[in-house]
């Protein structure tokens, strides 16, 4: 067998061997990233530029009002409502000062397709300070904030689960 063929085979074999090692490492790499990490903090950071953009787009006098009237309170205000469990999982509603009604009735802001919900179940609205409040509207099965049943209109902490039948929603920045 000619010298050249053998040299080519020798080098080719080493190349193939290393190729196998590299392919194996690629498989490991795809395995390493096989988990999904949901970082609450990261999501907040991601939401921040959006918020900043909205603030910049707001009319000047309103911006002035925001920075004047309790800026810290404002900065921690939730910007959206997220459905985390139930048939509507993944739905988000931007919070822009309007009242949000929840229930099976067709004119609700969030129409719950849920046998355990009443037609007018609850509403979420901002009070004068911009704090978001949840109020049960006399539903049959009740509205739960964390694990306690609501009896009076209650301020909603960020990220606290509000449970209506099979649906869970929470407020996020």
């Amino acid at each position: 067998m000619s010298e050249l063929t053998l040299t080519v085979m020798r080098l080719g074999f080493l190349a193939v061997l290393w190729l196998f090692v590299i392919v194996a490492v690629q498989v490991i790499r795809s395995d390493l990233f096989g988990t999904r990490v949901t970082q609450r903090g990261a999501r907040r950071e991601a939401a921040r530029p959006q918020q900043a953009a909205r603030q910049a787009a707001a009319p000047p006098q309103q911006r002035g009002q925001q920075s004047g009237g309790g800026g810290r309170q404002r900065r921690n205000a939730p910007t959206k409502l997220v459905v985390t469990e139930g048939t509507l999982t993944g739905t988000t509603v931007a919070l822009q000062g309007q009242t949000i009604t929840l229930g099976r009735a067709h004119d609700s802001t969030i129409v719950l397709d849920d046998d355990y919900a009443s037609s007018r179940h609850a509403r979420i609205y901002p009070d004068r300070d911009g704090q978001w409040i949840v109020e049960d509207l006399g539903s049959t099965n009740g509205t739960y904030l964390d694990r306690s049943r609501l009896t009076t209109p209650t301020p909603i902490p960020l990220g606290a689960p509000i449970r209506i039948g099979k649906t869970v929603i929470e407020l996020r920045k």
């Binding site: 085979m9 061997l17 090692v21 096989g34 039948g165």
Partner: protein
């Protein structure tokens, strides 16, 4: 930044698996690759030595491919979520070993001094038996946690296996080490199987005792000193490994067992002091035994000054070995890219050229580049074992996986370190690559257990129990 009002929501993160693919097709693709590489190597050896494609190419290729295919189908059926890399990596190593053993069979020199020329078909037979055991493990071991029940039976079994070579009439003293038994014409090395059985015992024992070992200790000079009664087992294991060393003159096996125990102890307790103790005790034991056991003493001398040993051996002085130096020369003449398969002269090592010293042939014919790839493949097997241990959800599986992969890693280190002159040479075999039935069969069983654990570990978790909070709101009221 503004994390004053509700800190609990800020740093929470949840980790969930994405749909947990089974990755069996990846395994199949890699497996085809792992069979094609040895076939290529086989053709290369034939062309280099005999100037023609060897006549056995089809039968060897099909044989290896068939075995790998059957193993893959069994994994697909009985361990569908297993790690996709373990089987192809082991197959590739086994195939490369077969090729190099066959290449040494072709050597006229080796044929003239012993019944060489038949090692490769036998190794293929051993491979078939190994894969058969692998399949048996996967089919009958439905859940590795069953092994936990046999903790103390494993201890007795391992001790029996280790002591078998010392039984008169059964044990065989081959080349200065009493680690074989001969049954019905076959010589078996029980130590290879004892490795797995002992790992089962250590895992079961440490799972129960790890809290006592980790917590009930006094702090002294920055080290955690364990209580005497907790130190007992490590002393017993150390003593047994020293006994093996003395009576069977098998440095490698005793190092392997003691090292495996220390690794598992460290993983179970997270106490660095165990590693310090382990290193001190193994060093003391090795130095003590080496100072009065002639066989071990000779090995140490060959390690410290291989050239002197070589000269003495060439001068005809008995009791000296020329192999260490020859292995170093083989690595040296291989250089970076090697001399090419079938074109080296590592058959000059003669005795044990295809078992203990097979790495020297790899070093000469594939060079540094080939040896590094080979060691990386071993490294990947160990990495997959450790990864399996990390992913395992039960402590027994974790400890067993880390013990088995630790033992595998130690064995590779002890053999390759010995052949390359880093540590004294020991009579152990390179897993999968070296010629030897016990080694190949036992290591296939080891990979089988690792695949079983990884299947359990990577299987998607069962759906979480329904949230108790949900019961309150999902009530149908009159």
């Amino acid at each position: 930044m503004s994390s004053t009002t509700n800190p609990s929501t800020h740093h929470t993160s949840t980790i969930g698996a994405i749909g947990a693919p089974s990755r069996r097709n990846t395994e199949l693709a890699l497996l085809v690759f792992a069979v094609v590489i040895p076939v290529f190597a086989y053709a290369n050896v034939g062309l280099a030595i005999n100037n023609q494609v060897p006549s056995g190419l089809l039968s060897y290729g099909l044989g290896l491919g068939l075995l790998a295919g059957v193993a893959h189908l069994v994994v697909r059926k009985f361990a569908p979520y297993a790690d996709p890399l373990l089987l192809p990596l082991a197959t590739l190593l086994n195939g490369l070993g077969l090729v190099v053993i066959w290449r040494l069979d072709q050597s006229k020199l080796l044929q003239s001094i012993k019944q060489a020329g038949t090692a490769a078909p036998r190794q293929l037979l051993y491979t078939a038996m190994g894969i058969a055991l692998f399949i048996v493990v996967l089919i009958f071991l439905k859940d590795h946690r069953v092994l936990q029940r046999y903790t103390y039976i494993s201890m007795v079994g391992a001790l029996v296996l280790l002591l078998l070579p010392l039984v008169p009439g059964l044990g065989a003293n081959i080349y200065g080490a009493k680690i074989w038994i001969s049954v019905a014409g076959f010589s078996i090395q029980p130590g290879e199987f004892a490795k797995i059985v002992l790992a089962i015992f250590f895992a079961g024992y440490l799972m129960v005792k790890r809290d006592a070992l980790a917590l009930a200790s006094r702090r002294f000079m920055g080290l955690y000193l364990p209580r005497g009664r907790d130190l007992g087992p490590i002393l017993v294991v150390w003593f047994i490994s020293i006994l093996i060393l003395v009576f069977e003159t098998d440095l490698g096996t005793s190092l392997l067992f003691f090292g495996m125990f220390v690794i598992m102890l460290y993983v179970a307790t997270e106490r660095t002091s165990w590693i310090v103790f382990g290193l001190l005790m193994s060093a003391a034991g090795a130095v003590g035994v080496a100072s009065f056991e002639p066989h071990v003493k000779m090995r140490v001398q060959a390690w410290l000054d291989p050239m002197k040993e070589y000269t003495l051996s060439q001068a005809g002085v008995g009791g000296h070995s020329e192999q260490s130096m020859q292995a170093l020369w083989a690595f040296g003449s291989g250089g970076t890219l090697g001399s090419g398969l079938g074109q080296g002269h590592s058959d000059l090592i003669r005795f044990a050229a295809n078992s203990d010293f097979i790495l020297a042939t790899f070093g000469e014919e594939l060079g540094l580049a080939g040896i590094m790839a080979l060691l990386l493949i071993y490294g990947l097997i160990v990495e997959r074992g450790v990864r399996t241990a990390l992913a395992a959800r039960d402590p027994f599986g974790k400890l067993l996986a880390i013990g088995l992969s630790g033992a595998f890693a130690l064995q590779v280190f002890v053999v390759s370190g010995g052949v390359m002159g880093l540590i004294p040479l020991t009579g152990m075999t390179m897993p999968f690559v070296a010629y030897g039935g016990s080694s190949v069969i036992a290591n296939w069983a080891l990979v089988g257990i690792l695949i079983r654990i990884s299947d359990t570990a990577r299987r998607p978790a069962p759906a979480p129990a329904s949230n108790p909070d949900a019961e309150m709101t999902q009530v149908v009221r009159p």
